[in-house]
């Protein structure tokens, strides 16, 4: 696999979260995270419309250098302007974006939300723990599973390099 653009190119996570406190926990957690020597860059938008604008490079997100395509989307469900499920549906219905893993990260543990999210092809559904140390643990679990182990056509070169180094 030779899809290695540059060692220093960051891994991009798009966080769609309107709650500043939750966004701050996620931001702090990924600030020090490295994947195969690549820093993680967290892009944060605060509502569903911004999320779609970012992903479709509309409005202020037109510059691909400043709004790079994410490797992973962390998506809250209850969002202003455009609902999280609507964002999910739109992303998964778009041939160019459907490949990006979308992890629902929400306070809702309601069965109906979980079923709907999987029905709209969420890759995974996570409930935010109320407890801060647990929240941090979950962030680590997300980083470890989705950035280290999960393979993706956009970045399998990097993961391959990581696995080789570990072996």
């Amino acid at each position: 696999m030779n899809a290695t653009p540059s060692e220093v190119e960051p891994v991009i996570i798009l966080l769609v979260e309107d709650e500043p406190a939750h966004a701050e926990i996620v931001r702090r957690n990924f600030a020090g995270f490295q994947m195969a020597n690549r820093p993680v860059q967290l892009m944060h938008v605060v509502d569903g419309q911004q999320a779609l604008d970012y992903l479709f490079r509309q409005g202020k997100f037109q510059d691909p250098d400043r709004s790079p395509r994410p490797h992973l989307v962390l998506l809250d469900l209850r969002l202003p302007k455009v609902d999280g499920l609507e964002v999910l549906k739109t992303v998964k219905a778009d041939a160019g974006l459907a490949n990006i893993p979308v992890i629902v990260l929400t306070t809702s543990a309601a069965g109906v939300d979980i079923v709907k999210a999987y029905g709209c092809h969420a890759n995974s559904y996570l409930v935010k723990p109320v407890d801060l140390p647990q929240f941090r643990k979950l962030m680590d679990a997300i980083g470890f599973y989705w950035l280290v182990w999960n393979q993706h056509p956009d970045r399998c070169g990097q993961a391959g390099a990581f696995l080789k180094k570990q072996a």
Partner: protein, 151 residues
């Protein structure tokens, strides 16, 4: 509605794997995992579909409970793994079950196809045995401890 997760409800995992050595690694790992999970193992794509649609020897829901998670190899006898994935994700009663592809293929074309067919995650089996065990740990920890299932 019940969910698995932090509270540790036992989960049913359907492993679709024709390589006995790989199946054994997965089995041992899930048996050792802290929760009383049930690992159901079928060895080809036809059996996987029969299990999921409760046909033939898999008709009894007590003996063949609907899985919370499917671990799916791609290169399978009888019915190909990609075909199994497509069938699961096209069926309204099964589409919500997370399917994790677990394969030796690191080909980008397979990854793109799998995600295109709504695989929830794609994992490449490491050739190295200790790495394979590490992957199993990561898989169990993420999907059985943190991920929320619909039922």
């Amino acid at each position: 509605m019940k969910t698995t997760g932090m509270k540790g409800e036992p989960a049913v995992i359907l492993l679709v794997e024709d390589d006995p050595a790989h199946a054994e690694i997965v089995r041992r790992n899930f048996v050792n995992f802290r929760m009383a999970n049930k690992l159901m193992h079928v060895s080809d794509g036809q059996q996987a579909l029969d299990y999921l649609f409760r046909r033939g020897e898999f008709q009894d829901p007590d003996k063949s409970p609907q899985p919370n998670l499917v671990l799916l190899d791609l290169r399978l006898p009888k019915v190909d793994g990609m075909e199994v994935l497509t069938t699961i994700k096209a069926d309204a009663s099964l589409a919500h079950i997370p399917v994790v592809v677990l394969t030796t293929s690191a080909a980008e074309v397979d990854m793109a196809k799998a995600y295109g067919n709504h695989a929830n995650s794609y994992l490449v089996k490491p050739v190295d045995f200790p790495q394979f065990l590490k992957l199993m740990d990561a898989l169990g920890y993420y999907w059985l401890v943190w991920n929320q299932f619909p039922y």
